[in-house]
Amino acid sequence: MAHAGEAHAAEAHAHAPQAFIWRYVFSKDHKVIGVQYYVTAMTMALVAGLLAMLIRVQLAWPDVDWGFVGRLLPMGFQGGAGQPFVMNPEFYSMLFTMHGTIMVFFVMSTAPVSGFGNLLIPLQIGARDMAFPFLNALSYWTFLPGCIVILSSFFVSAGAAAAGWTSYPPLSALQGAIPGSGMGQTLWIVGMVFFIASFTMGGLNFLTTILNMRTKGMSLMRMPLTMWSMMLVAILGLLAFPALVAGCLMLLFDRHFGTSFFLPAGLVLSSQPLLTPEGASLHQGGSPLLWQHLFWFLGHPEVYILMLPALGFTSDLISVFCRKPIFGYRTMVGAMGAIAFLSFIVWGHHMFISGMNPYLGMAFAVGTILIAVPSAVKTFNWLSTLYKSRIQFTTPMLWAMGVVSLFISGGLSGVWLAQAGPDIHLHDTMFVAAHFHLIMAGAALFGVFGATAMWFPKMFGRLMNEKLGKVHFWLTFVTYYGTFFPMHYIGLAGHMRRIYDPYQYPFLKHLQPINQFITVSAIILGSAQILFFVNFFWSAFKGKKASENPWNANGLEWTTPSPPPHGNWPGEIPEVHRWPYEYSPPGAARDHVMQHEPATEAVPGH
């Protein structure tokens, strides 16, 4: 054994590439790829976050003079030469479209899944790398062009896509409909196809690695819940994204080659009917609803692609910092499986006002409300784990508890929106924006911050600064609620979700102080993220050196040096004898027993 281990270690090291470009740029090492994904996603988050700030300022003070911002972004503003700078309405549509697209796909699907998935999967299941390292590298180098294409769309003549992150036709299918329907929309489609190709390669790798590369003793039911979430996310991605590829392809054909998949007859553009030279309708028979079905068949599982990793991180973090086994491991696995399954049959709840048969709407509503059951199971399991434990309030733990909080508050409004009746009133109002920013965006974001603080040692061999981390958490937590909670209220009062100037309707005028409160809160929220970036880069270079297992956790990733060497373990890969949740077992010498420690009489395997 020992001999083989040394030989293997030597072999693993011999294969670590030495040249900088192969080691850190075109690397096939899952840890490097994970960090590349993470840093790219966070850079995209910075861009999308700035877009959100512009959206918020416009909503709170629609007649503000933008001054130097207008000078900086000439494509979005009119004014100058003595006139005040005013935002173009078309630019506003581009802002919320690109904010949504970038955040959902290029940040919140990427940082937790492609970032932490790549970093953690081999480390937590006990493998030297992913199953297909070359495919893994290819996946990142497909993702990056996607980012560049999406960002570049701001700089084409007519501007970026502006049909919303859902890109509903006919707005997205007719090139002349609005400025954003031109080149920007084409780039949106191309960027999305790059993203999906990259995510598919990642998904194949995730699924194969988790199923086939586990170390000795690592049965499925001994895997950390993070690994379960990654496996389910991979399955969701592989099965759901192809529907969007199909939709994107048909959209591209409708836009550029004159087909009528999504375009009906009788369309009128700037008071001119769209006709062929012979005088017949240019398009006919197509159905915009078809796009909605294809989009949401992906779109709803996509929500759980964002959420599930955060739920997995939270379970693991809570157990570590409560020093207690996670309550109801099996039900946690079952609940995540149930959520993943249900996510495929509830897409219609995004389309209640599209004129669907009420009985069909009811079926979608029932399926959606059913998701409350596994979600409640998860919540109660977390609360039971927290109950009567000696909580260690470290930064990662604060984020994990933030996830629980957001998951509950966002989930409660989900029950309203799940039913067709209330949804007809609330659809496309700020209430929806409040709901999904709390549960989907917020829970995923907090999960990523928690995971960053937790596994930072395995990325850079150092710990993040706890004081700065806590300040960052509390500022973010308070202003996050400050930003999104009041949106419920203005949404109920009828404030539209996508509106350039709330002053244009008298019935919205009295809501303007709330809008301004939200914006102030959002600006503090945005500024607080500077603390995170400072902490991240400062700690990566100057942070406190981390030991192998700084949190006294049980997973296999804590049995190897921080950061782990190429090949992940200097010697033989450890063998697993128990689950990763053996905290405070009675009769043990320490308050935790790690996964690779052999079974003893006091603490048998699990």
Partner: protein, 212 residues
């Protein structure tokens, strides 16, 4: 214990890209890793085929909804499609012949059967282009009616997947020339899985477009 690397089958990494010396299935636990499903590259390929299937299922749902609209004018299949079908199915048969010989230590003719497979694949693509041109000559183009839109799009997409298969085929051809496949082992299995899948997919598309 950790001899996974040495036991790795030639070509098992396939085009999915596990180089020699990189992690092999069950590497972590030597021979004791739990619950391994077949070999790793094969499992990855099967998952990929599942993804491709979902893509065409997505198109199928769009097709089934779109064909209920009033402007639907069914196309007549160009006759050459049936010939193309025969060509593609024959290429699957020749590939099986090559596999059988390789498995049975009968190395004579492996090269010719493999080459025949690729040649038939190319012939199929040429035939598909001929079918497109035949339709074009009748004035039926991509945007003519919804059925023709689906026809061009689905055959084009299938052709692209087959083109990808031909790129893989070139890698297989090089391996055969170098005698890199171990006689008695099924080194062509992964490629055959993909190739037969494309034949099956073609039969399905033919059924969807012209029989249903």
């Amino acid at each position: 214990m950790s001899t996974g690397v040495l036991q790795q089958k030639p070509g098992a990494g396939g085009t999915l890209g596990r180089g020699p010396g990189e992690a092999a299935p069950g590497d972590g636990g030597g021979d004791g890793a739990p619950g391994i499903i077949g070999d790793t590259a094969r499992f990855g390929l099967m998952a990929f085929l599942g993804t491709i299937s979902m893509l065409f299922i997505g198109f199928t749902s769009a097709y089934l909804i779109r064909r209920t609209s009033l402007d639907w004018r069914p196309l007549r299949a160009p006759g050459i499609l049936w010939l193309n079908t025969a060509v593609l199915l024959t290429s699957s048969v020749t590939l099986e012949a090559a596999r059988r010989r390789l498995r049975g230590w009968d190395l004579r003719g492996v090269m010719s059967w493999v080459a025949a497979t690729g040649a038939l694949g190319v012939l199929f693509l040429v035939g598909q282009v001929v079918a497109w041109r035949a339709l074009g000559a009748q004035g039926v183009f991509l945007a003519t009616n919804p059925h023709s839109s689906f026809f061009y799009m689905l055959t084009g997409l299938h052709g692209l997947h087959l083109l990808g298969g031909l790129v893989w085929f070139l890698a297989v051809l090089v391996q055969v020339r170098r005698m890199a496949y171990v006689p008695g082992e099924d080194g062509l299995r992964l490629f055959a899985t993909y190739w037969h899948f494309l034949a099956g997919l073609w039969l399905y598309l033919l059924f969807l477009l012209f029989v249903l």
